[in-house]
Symmetry: C2
Subunit: 187 residues, 2 copies
């Protein structure tokens, strides 16, 4: 594999992730991705043997992204402030969330309908989030209720993103986040 193969492959995945976030997987063509990545159209098939493999790679990228954020927040002193850091990150992105929805949530929604290997792969995204949230709630002292609280947190956030996206109103995310912060701080 040549020196900049990785670079081209990365550029393709990055372009795909952005386009899929904006339009949805089904509405993004190979040509669209190639153009945005500045790679000749037909050449995409040197890096991915099928269209679905691009979706696969995008899920892996998204997973790496959130795990990277989690590791960063793990450095914070206590579990509550880690969860708050997550909510702050969402709040900072509320404009984009209202415009295009949650990058994770929309991927899961679309691939879940698709079914097959992509649905299986996308499932790992929510699992990673639930696991990390559960760890924080447990470390905070929630005991048995930790997982249930983790589910409630993810569920609320995803629902708020969907609402905000549909109504194109970022206040629908920020409002819910504000309540969630109060809930966590009061634990």
């Amino acid at each position: 594999m040549p020196y900049d193969s990785q670079s081209k492959r990365s550029r393709l995945i990055e372009a795909a992730a952005a386009l899929i976030y904006e339009r949805g997987f089904r509405d993004v063509t190979i040509a669209d991705i190639a153009e945005r990545a500045q790679v000749p159209t037909g050449n995409v098939y040197y890096y991915f043997k099928a269209r679905d493999d691009i979706g696969f790679a995008v899920v892996e990228t998204r997973l790496a992204e959130i795990q990277s954020s989690f590791r960063e927040w793990d450095a914070l002193e206590n579990p509550k402030s880690r969860l708050i850091a997550f909510l702050n990150a969402l709040e900072a992105n509320s404009q984009e969330l209202a415009e295009h929805g949650c990058p994770i949530g929309s991927l899961c929604a679309e691939f879940s309908k698709t079914g097959g290997a992509l649905a299986d792969k996308s499932r790992t995204l929510f699992i990673a989030m639930i696991d990390w949230f559960t760890t924080q709630f447990r470390a905070q002292g929630s005991g048995e209720g930790a997982r249930s609280q983790a589910l409630h947190l993810l569920s609320s956030v995803q629902g708020a993103c969907l609402l905000a996206h549909s109504q194109r109103d970022s206040s629908l995310v920020t409002g819910e986040i504000c309540q969630l912060k109060r809930w966590i701080e009061a634990l």
Copy 2:
């Protein structure tokens, strides 16, 4: 317009709604819809001048469905029991919600990305739900907080459906519904 034109049109919309719920709008073809509705493929264009118009009609059908449910629940004695009736209906459908997601939520998620007229149209679905919820919370005595509580209810339900669909685990909806019921009853 002939006697059974309405019947054929209705059959097409019904078939489209079911298929779109299962696979998503983008993955359902005119031929698929026609076949399920037992109508010749090319003939669909007598009833709908473009593909998007079918999506439009499906949104209108879904809107009529939920408004019909709301009217039914309006007959119940008090606002709390009306909201509980809504949650009971979800609970009864939890299996299907885990398999295909929320029929309203998935439509909104997909059409919101699409943008354009379909996004605008699909927006009315959540608005109708928020309005009815708000009315119930206000009648219950929530005052200023009614709208915020309505948003929280819809948001939680939609998030739970998305989670359950992605993980194909109906307990993720029923669990959240159980908590929401307790919240409403404690108001």
